[in-house]
Amino acid sequence: MLELIRVKKDIPFMRFARSTIFFSVACIIAAIALLATKGLNLGVDFTGGTVMEIGYPRAADIPAIRGTLASAGYGDAQVQNFGTSREVLVRLPVKPGVTSAQLSEQVMAVLKQADASTELRRVEFVGPQVGQELLEDGSLALVVVSIGIVLYLALRFEWRMAVGAIFATAHDIFIVLGVWSLFQWEFSLTVLAAILAILGYSVNDTVVVFDRIRENFKKTRMTNVAAIMDNAKTATLSRTIITSGTTQLMVTAMLLLGGEVLYGFALCLTIGIIVGTYSSVLVASPITMWLGVSREDFIKPVKTESGAMV
């Protein structure tokens, strides 16, 4: 039998609770500070504007393209490589008064004139109003998901656990956003989808640990809450690591093979999986313990568990 983790005694995770929580809170504060000062590099999905992906049969000459565009009056265009050296991404800000739908056609005509082999691979134009709406809907989705999860956990487990889980999840989201802000990576709709997926993933991870803690509370006669939690976390540790590992295998495949569009998505998930695994083991349960959870909270309801099967 192959085993990743072979432990005879429970690992005393809770002994480090103070330091892990301190570390997490410090990270959250740093993330918030970054978001407040540097902010997110919002992509065209949210700010509005035009993005064009252009293909060349050979390595593209970026300065020449910039020059061509500048001389045609598009000096504010950002030109950069995208994925390979033959692909170029051109970003154009929203221009008040210019029918933006025509903008991409005009730019393409200019580029085609300079080099007839230019191929238009993708255009994305988002009006400023639509961008604002997408951002609002995205933020609303985050809030709705959080509330839904807290309610479900409070119902199925215990409100202290719900608070612990949502704290751990918020911790993950803040750190991922903080990293995104630190490196000024582009925050697009796909990255937003990844953030929400992390939310689901992180809670999922935490719930597996909590489920075991709940079971321990019901079964054992131990009264030391920290010991009960350590036992549960040790028992589920190999599962936690293996699942994070398999999910990361998939995400790594996307990171390497998924192309430029999936790259941001996969990168976001990678950070999320690492932070999420850390938080579900080391952040969620200390909060729950400090909120004063005890054995009595789980023994009162005499409902049979199997009654909740779907």
Partner: protein
């Protein structure tokens, strides 16, 4: 203890069988085809059309691989794209402008699969290439237009009722009428109230003047907006038909937006031009005197139209000389409906004109009884005579009946053209996403490859780590993928690149259930349970955990679907469906496999886990 009743195996068997059939079409690929659909929705799609299409293709010397007929049109399959393009050209020439002839790709799966509704997954624009537009209807403009119409109507009404007013003006959506005294205003108020219940009236006073403010009430505003959107949708549909797109999607989104999706369209410039085009209607008199002279008609066709006239063709190809002076434009038409003439029972179109239009129309018809008037549709600089009926008598009241149509279908078409020839309110493109075909193909390949290699890596790890139980888990995971693809095909949910990422992510997370079960079984074995008991306990105790952890993810997925748009929504659909299929496959299917392999072993001493 580890035995399933027969019905559980049967349920699993049926589920797998269904999944197999509904996944199957995705493996057949696509064949080139040509799709023929009538431009006018009223045109019949029947066996006669199918025969005509077949005969045309045959005379062109192209071998068709199959012809099929459905509610929307005729589809012909070909062996290669050369034959497809040749057939398209031949059909376009033979069928004329009344039909849209579009290139298409049809699933190559056998007919019996298609007949049970098994279709390949519906690929989003980022995978197949095409254009997505989100158009915003300028509703304030539509309301302005409505107010303008009422302004004219009220002016006519007050004149008819002989109510004296000193002026009538409009500012945006509010019309205000000025009177010299309160009595006149009351009179006007009553007249307007009786004629237009949908107007909201408000009295005011400024210095010596008595004012009456007129605005549309809430319901009328909503109705005006709804009508404007409906008319714009109809217009867009007509225009998209002209583009020859095989499967266009034109949908309302929210109260003032329209989504247009044109799969496979590459010429975005042309698409934008056609969508944003403004069509206008004009009513002009036919120059009967000059029409008598065949020579001048011939001269006009040659480019030498007599002074003050222009020559246009009727829909049947007959030239008509019309005067250059425009009697009315389409702006005055408030509604057009197909129907029948009360006396002759001929097909007819009933048109309603607004107040000003009615007045002009009355005068013109009184002076021109016995002559013809032409209704022209001007689109893209091309003018067509929709119809040129004879005026029988003076027409007042703004209700016009046009006869002379061959059939109720034609009446329907004319009514549609009159209604939908022009946009009710201007539209603006507020979002555009164009994906070239090569990028679409790349995206499919990238998505497929990452899923494939990710799956392989997970499978390798599971088999090495959990041995036989790992093999069972991998089989369950493969089942999960089959079920998910089958479900996506069955529901015809749009698969996008983030959707493929969703499939990959779901698979990565779905193995979690098997890991939880396997770890639990190992633990129970360590605690000294017998292998059979450990298996049963492992599955049972793991179920609660799996349920709780999956439901939280499901909550995230549902919220994403609800609030997400475009690519995010495609991801959410896959995430939600994937959670459901993974719970079934990881728990029920893998348990069935475990039960089949170990359940009947009497003395199980060792588990390969």
């Amino acid at each position: 203890m580890n035995r399933y009743p027969l019905w559980k195996y049967l349920v699993i068997g049926v589920a797998l069988l269904l999944a197999f059939f509904y996944t199957l079409p995705n493996f057949f690929g696509e064949v080139p085809a040509v799709q023929v659909t009538p431009v006018r929705t009223t045109e019949k799609v029947d066996a006669a059309l199918m025969q005509r299409v077949e005969a045309t293709v045959k005379t062109a010397g192209v071998a068709a691989q199959g012809v099929s007929l459905d509610a929307r049109g005729v589809k012909i399959r070909f062996a290669d794209t050369d034959a497809q393009i040749k057939a398209k050209d031949a059909l376009q020439q033979a069928l004329g402008s009344g039909y849209t002839v579009a290139l298409n790709l049809l699933p190559a799966s056998p007919e019996w699969l298609t007949s049970i509704g098994a279709l390949p997954m519906y690929l989003g624009l980022d995978l197949r290439g095409g254009v997505y537009f989100l158009l915003q209807v300028d509703m304030p403009k539509a309301l302005d237009k409505a107010a303008e119409r009422y302004q004219g109507d009220i002016r006519t009404l007050l004149r008819e009722k002989k109510v004296r007013y000193t002026g009538i003006g409009r500012e945006g959506q509010a019309v205000s009428i000025r009177f010299r005294d309160a009595a006149q205003r009351d009179e006007a108020r009553q007249a307007i109230k009786a004629a237009y219940a949908e107007l909201h009236l408000e009295e005011a006073q400024s210095g010596e003047e008595y004012l009456l403010g007129v605005t549309l009430n809430k319901q009328a505003q909503v109705k005006t907006q709804e009508d404007a959107l409906k008319q714009n949708l109809t217009t867009l549909r007509n225009r998209v038909n002209e583009l020859g797109v095989a499967e266009p999607v034109i949908q309302q989104q929210g109260i003032d937006r329209v989504v247009v999706q044109l799969p496979g369209v590459q010429d975005t410039a042309k698409a934008k031009e056609i969508l944003g085009r403004t069509a206008t209607l004009e009513i002009r008199m036919v120059d009967e005197e000059k029409m008598q002279d065949a020579a001048s008609v011939q001269a006009a066709l040659a480019g030498q139209a007599p002074f003050g006239t222009e020559v246009y063709l009727e829909r049947n190809g007959v030239p008509v000389l019309v005067k250059k002076t425009v009697v009315l434009t389409g702006d005055y038409i408030t509604d057009a409906q197909p129907g029948f003439d009360n006396q002759t029972n001929q097909a007819a179109v009933h048109i309603n004109l607004d107040g000003r239009g009615a007045r002009v129309f009355k005068n013109v018809t009184r002076e021109n009884v016995g002559k013809r008037m032409a209704i022209l549709l001007i689109e893209k600089g091309k003018t067509e005579v929709v119809t040129a009926p004879v005026i029988r008598e003076e027409i007042g009241g703004g209700r016009v009946q046009i006869t002379g149509m061959d059939s109720p279908q034609e009446a329907n078409d004319v009514a549609l053209l009159l209604r939908a020839g022009a946009l009710a309110a201007p539209m603006e493109i507020v979002e555009e996403r164009t994906v070239g075909p090569s990028l679409g193909a790349d995206n499919i390949e990238r998505g497929f490859n990452s899923t494939l290699y990710g799956f392989a890596a997970i499978a390798l790890f599971m088999v090495v780590y959990y041995q036989l139980f790992g093999v069972i888990s991998v089989l369950a995971l493969a089942t999960n993928m089959f079920l998910l693809v089958a479900l996506l095909s069955l529901l015809q949910a749009t698969l996008t690149l983030p959707g493929i990422a969703g499939i990959a992510l779901t698979l990565g997370m779905a193995i979690d259930a098997n890991v939880i079960i396997a770890e639990r079984i190992r633990e129970e074995l360590k605690n000294g349970m017998t292998p059979q008991a450990a298996l049963a306990a492992g599955y049972e105790r793991a179920w609660d955990t799996i349920l709780d952890s999956n439901i939280t993810t499901l909550i995230a997925g549902i919220a994403l679907f609800w609030l997400g748009s475009g690519p995010v929504r495609g991801f959410a659909v896959v995430l939600c469906l994937g959670i459901l299929t993974s719970m079934f496959s990881a728990v029920v299917v893998s348990r069935a496999m475990v039960n089949l392999s170990f359940g009947r072993v009497k003395r199980l001493t060792k588990l390969s886990i």
